[in-house]
Symmetry: C2
Subunit: 401 residues, 2 copies
């Protein structure tokens, strides 16, 4: 047999995907997935877009440009303009979900041993990608206002952290914490990036999914307020959470020199993302369907979030601690008196699952933390799921038979 060498000698699969085996069980209620709600997909609108796209079948069926179909890029440039960002086509690369953008960026910018900063808790696939590149990872804690930028400033000023290549963050409705970085912290972070010459890698799949409070511009949009900062921001976004993941349409906006290197890497990686679904996405956006449909998703997630937070407070009261998010798909919580992994074991018996927080830490994991996604289940399922969680909690702490 083939003998593997590092880093694949002992591969660690996604701890979240490990939970997928429970999804098929009859009656299981899942707060575990990071999937958007299937019943909120704009099935008819996408069908119509697909029909229009196939009126130019060769564009759907032939290879496309590595950086993305021009028709789609033109629509995405307009979408970014509506989000307050002006960008040129040569700064933009269409990717197979924003996930591929992160992979490409890390491949062209980060070598073994390079210092990379990431918020923590963080998206597990990011942590896995950093391991794959054998980066040296330093974590920066997140509080309810997002990344602790003041702490980062101290680390940089003291020299405790020196010459990082980049910092990864999901500043708006973060996965897993649901937290949103304040405007003040965004500006401060941009100033640090300019001063210490590191890239801010802003992952923004959820930004349109705000269901309460005032919008805050993306870090990329705020570069106009900090001189020289545009050179230091890489921005990912995606249609996965606002249209459909099955399109696998994400995009990266970066300084042209970085984008060019990503395009060259992508020639080697997969030549191009599926032109057929790119063409469908272009038609969908050109029709204005996105703007018409997003409010439907936002209204549904507002209601589901409210249901989850209300039910958690009613059922678990002081035994659980969390901040209700202003958007996105996730509630991040800490459970009192036991580990989330122990709670999960009991929860599975009760036919409800969530993701224990350990999965989101590169170091110093908070074993009491857990992530609950309200996106997929409907309100009655959310309420029943929390009742089951309560029974699981009682069983785990021994206050119930």
């Amino acid at each position: 047999m083939y003998e593997f060498t590092a880093p694949f000698q002992q591969p660690a699969g996604s701890p979240i995907r490990e939970l997928f085996k429970y999804l098929g069980e009859p009656g299981m209620i899942s707060f575990a997935g990071g999937y958007p709600a299937s019943d909120l997909f704009d099935v008819e609108g996408l069908d119509a877009a697909a029909t229009r796209a196939y009126q130019a079948p060769a564009q759907c069926l032939q290879y496309g440009p590595t950086d993305g179909l021009p028709s789609l890029k033109a629509q995405l440039v307009q979408l970014m303009a509506r989000r307050g960002v002006s960008c040129a086509p040569d700064e933009m690369l269409v990717t197979t979900g924003s996930q591929q953008g992160l992979d490409l960026i890390l491949r062209v910018l980060v070598g073994p041993g390079d210092l990379v900063l990431t918020e923590q808790p963080a998206y597990p696939a990011t942590l896995q990608a950093l391991r794959l590149q054998q980066a040296k990872v330093v974590t920066i804690a997140v509080d309810r206002d997002g990344l602790d930028v003041a702490h980062l400033a101290n680390l940089l000023a003291s020299g405790e952290v020196s010459r990082p290549r980049l910092l990864y963050t999901v500043p708006t409705f973060a996965n897993p914490t649901g937290a949103t970085l304040t405007r003040e912290r965004r500006i401060a972070l941009l100033k640090l990036a300019v001063q210490y010459r590191f890239l801010i890698v802003e992952d923004d799949p959820y930004g349109d999914l705000r269901f309460s409070g005032e919008p805050i511009p993306s870090i990329l949009a705020l570069t106009s307020e900090v001189a020289g900062s545009r050179d230091w921001v890489v921005h990912f976004s995606s249609l996965s959470k606002i249209v459909a993941p099955g399109l696998r349409v994400g995009w990266t906006i970066a300084p042209a020199a970085i984008t060019r290197r990503c395009v060259i890497a992508k020639q080697t990686v997969d030549l191009c993302s599926a032109p057929w679904t790119q063409a469908i996405a272009a038609e969908y956006l050109a029709d204005g369907a996105l703007e018409r449909h997003v409010p439907t998703i936002v209204a549904a997630y507002r209601e589901k979030n409210h249901a989850l937070c209300r039910a958690l407070r009613a059922a678990l009261g002081e035994c659980i601690e969390f901040h209700a998010p202003s958007g996105g798909m996730f509630v991040w919580a800490r459970i009192q008196g036991l580990d989330a992994a122990a709670l999960l074991a009991r929860a599975i018996e009760q036919k409800v699952i969530f993701v224990p927080g350990n999965a989101f830490f590169a170091d110093k994991a908070d074993a009491s933390s857990l992530r609950l996604s309200f996106a997929a289940p409907d309100v009655p399922a959310i309420e029943e799921g929390v009742r089951r969680l309560k029974r699981a909690y009682d069983a785990a702490v021994g206050t119930s038979v």
Copy 2:
């Protein structure tokens, strides 16, 4: 500005993609692309498959399993059975074109400085991928019967080549040479792989496109004839050349332990290839449309290949040397008396392009070589293109005003 470090300090883009800028020129005839003929796509059959696939919209629109939609994998297992290969689902991974299979395999198997063998001339993206992984590359020459396996055996026996991790080859209708490895050499290569414990990475996108001669089983299919060899073969295939590249559906068949590592890497790379086009591909295959349609492509390529070879002999006679291929999309030739790059400069003036052979060499390039693809142009364009090539040749060697 961000300062890049190796290996992306001086990125080398694809030399073939450099030629794309000429494709848009009015009246340009291209023998340069590796694209299949757009006018041979089964537009109606794929439209019907898309309609059937969308009857289960959530499967098209939601995230799918990282290793591929089960419905597609079931069809691909059947397709491989028709090609004489028995494989289990856990040996198979669906990828974004077979290109991604190569990228994943190299990422999980090859580290900086690892010794990798490749046929030469070779597919340029493979050479670029090996550079990206910083592999140490040793090339093995190809003759009209494919890879020179006897020479490889000598290198291994003498210790001149020691402990390679893997060998990359396109054994059937190779890109760029059009050559097909003989059955005897395939068996000999499998024995070497077992003896010296290296993986044969068999890239097989063109195998179904035979227009003359007797079929030869793939290297993977022949593992049944060499004890222990199945552990040492990784096989890529794709729908890009026999259905449509725009689906971006390729697949990898490898020992389960290797496949598992590729799946984990793919979780990080892009989570999954586009489920929507996977679902369309599954419906297309389930309908038997592939078997009905491939003969149409083969008949067209037979005629185009014949037209190109006949025209080249008639126009250039002794000034060009080539072997007519038995399938695939490419004629590999050597031009007498000048470099192919010099010919290309004159050819562009005459509004015809091809790929100079240099692009396909990692070392010791044969400057007189060139690759001509007959797949995309129709027969009249092929004949006119060769007339232009003749004028370019005459201009370049100075026998014409």
